[in-house]
């Protein structure tokens, strides 16, 4: 299998303390990779390094054949990296549909001038974005909310809306930062089925998650971080039996 994302021993410190230290991993095309670890293990920092919101102090990031560690976040989005944030990062004062349409920014190009002049090509692109956004809303079960303000959505739907926004970008690599946290059982199951569907379609995903059952069901491989270091990597079964992991993470859960 070809590698889509190669994290080459990256490190990032905050005030002298390493949040991520010499972490190296390779995510294959089509793989679903879970990243787990106790609080403060560096999972979110790692995601921020991949999405470009943080620059690494050292190390490289390779996406396909390109070095991306010096690219700004919007340029990485244009290369097909989409992220669903942990909190509800929705855009206020916009409808659910408009929120999802923003996701298409990464792969569309019409700017201020063609918008002002309403060129035919611009109208066509707008119609396509709109259709894609409606399809994405459909996929996460939010079609009926399309024309309502995103501000009034309940938490579960806000998460789904973020997923729809990410899907509207037609990503090659989808980062999901604790997508199931705060969701009720039914919402969690719907999310799991959605992720399974995307996995079946061959989308490469990285997933930070605390819920072990969720991870075991969805992930092909699991990377375990503890105190900023990668302490184990393998299939969910291998990870379950790894003594280092049990000590660092699962041990706490079991206690």
């Amino acid at each position: 299998m070809t590698t889509l994302l190669e994290v080459g021993s990256v490190g990032r410190a905050f005030g002298g303390v390493y949040a991520v230290r010499d972490v190296a991993m390779a995510v294959a095309e089509g793989e679903t990779r879970a990243v787990i670890g106790p609080n403060g293990a560096g999972k979110s920092t790692l995601f921020n390094l991949i999405s470009g919101h943080l620059a690494p102090d050292h190390g490289t990031l390779r996406y396909g054949t390109r070095r991306i560690d010096r690219l700004p976040p919007h340029a990485r989005a244009r290369l097909g990296i989409a992220i669903v944030f942990q909190g509800a990062r929705l855009f206020h004062g916009m409808t659910a549909l408009e929120n999802v349409m923003v996701g298409a920014h990464a792969r569309t190009r019409h700017g201020f001038l063609s918008a002002t002049l309403r060129l035919p090509a611009h109208r066509r692109e707008e119609a396509e974005i709109r259709a894609d956004a409606l399809a994405a809303l459909d996929r996460v079960g939010l079609r009926d909310w399309a024309h309502r303000s995103a501000d009034v959505l309940p938490l579960g739907q806000q998460r789904s809306l973020q997923v729809a926004r990410a899907l509207c970008a037609r990503p090659r690599l989808l980062l999901l930062d604790e997508p199931a946290s705060g969701l009720r059982a039914g919402e969690r199951e719907a999310l799991a089925q959605l992720v399974e569907g995307l996995r079946a379609e061959g989308l490469t995903m990285m997933l930070v998650e605390h819920d072990v059952a969720f991870v075991a069901r969805l992930a092909d491989r699991v990377s375990v971080l503890d105190l900023g270091r990668l302490i184990a990597e393998g299939t969910p079964e291998q990870i379950r039996d790894d003594p280092a992991v049990i000590a660092a993470y699962l041990g706490e859960e079991a206690a």
Partner: protein, 348 residues
């Protein structure tokens, strides 16, 4: 041209669905009414009052742009009158150097936008208060420069700017400037609406909430902020250009810091990030200023009364609006209307 002022940017974002086509939405009817009134005002007003209307329209042109900058890019410019000034001087310099006046009107927004693009590179790295003070500083520097330089006419400014001529038609009457300014405002509103309701506009509205999330969706945050800054400066420059031809002279005193504050107050009172808010804010404050001016220039009032009154009322207005209507007149009114009609599906 102002018939295109059809919808608020919020409600038009979700292109009218089939249900809304059947009968015109209240917003459409309201906009049509406003457009008709705007077209009739110059004819109905007594000739001595038309100048107030022209200045109101020119302020509205600036405020639509500033509202976009403040509402979407989240940047406060306390020196927006610098760009009105650049536009005014560009038009005046072009016209007084024997070049066609229409060229001056064309160059005014272009030069203002270009200047904004230039200063925007360092300025837009600043945030919040820092940017506000930096823009204010720019205006103070500009005022000081223009007041000293010979080719800008120093403190006296440039006198004898000829009347605007386009294709043989001379804008000579007060009323012709009213329609010129109205046309320019219509154009500015149309451009703004087109941008706000399309791909770049969605990107702007997104970054107003979260620059991080917007960037992750592929929005080039810095470039977009820069573009809105230049666009808002271009609008201000256009207003300044018309002003130069209308008044017939430009001087540093025509573009005081107080004018920049006035624009900001108009945006805040009307509600940042909405076209209707900009129009409402410009109208409300212009009328209020007119009233204050009447009071301030009454017999027995000190010469400084109008200025002192304006500052006091701006301060008071800002405090009151921020305390009681933090989102401004128009968004507060829209929210109230949405709550009343909450049973229907919301369109924003």
């Amino acid at each position: 041209m102002s018939v295109s002022v059809r919808n608020s940017p919020r409600s038009s974002g979700a292109h009218a669905g089939p249900a809304r086509r059947r009968r015109p939405a209240p917003a459409t009817l309201g906009a049509a009414a406003v457009a008709v009134v705007a077209l009739l005002v110059p004819v109905l007003l007594p000739a001595t009052q038309v100048s107030v209307y022209v200045l109101l329209l020119l302020a509205a042109i600036v405020v639509v742009g500033l509202s976009m900058l403040m509402g979407f890019a989240g940047q406060v410019s306390l020196g927006q009158a610098s760009f009105t000034m650049i536009g005014g001087y560009t038009a005046a310099l072009t016209a007084t150097h024997g070049l066609p006046t229409w060229l001056g009107l064309l160059l005014a927004p272009v030069v203002a936008a270009a200047c904004a693009a230039l200063v925007g590179v360092p300025l837009l790295r600043l945030r919040g208060h820092q940017l506000a003070f930096a823009t204010l500083a720019i205006q103070l520097i500009l005022l000081s420069l223009v007041g000293r330089l010979e080719w800008t006419g120093g403190d006296i400014g440039l006198q004898g700017v000829p009347r605007l001529q386009v294709a043989g038609y001379e804008f000579a009457e007060e009323i012709s400037y009213a329609y010129l300014a109205l046309g320019a405002l219509g154009l500015v509103v149309l451009v703004t609406r087109h941008i706000v309701t399309s791909r770049p506009g969605r990107g702007l509205r997104a970054l107003a909430t979260s620059e991080v999330a917007a960037a992750s969706s592929g929005v080039p945050v810095a470039v977009y902020k820069q573009a809105v800054f230049s666009l808002s400066a271009g609008f201000a420059g256009l207003a300044g250009g018309i002003y130069a031809f209308y008044i017939g002279y430009v001087a540093p005193g025509s573009f005081p810091v107080l004018l920049s504050f006035e624009y900001v107050v108009m945006v805040v009172v009307g509600g940042a990030g909405t076209i209707w808010g900009a129009l409402a804010g410009a109208t409300a404050i212009t009328l209020l200023l007119q009233l204050l001016n009447d009071i301030g220039t009454r017999e027995g009032m000190p010469a400084s009364a109008p200025t002192v009154l304006s500052y006091a009322v701006y301060g008071l207005l800002l405090v009151v609006v921020v305390l009681f209507l933090p989102r401004g007149l128009v968004p507060s009114a829209t929210a109230w209307w949405d709550r009343r009609t909450a049973s229907k599906p919301m369109e924003g």
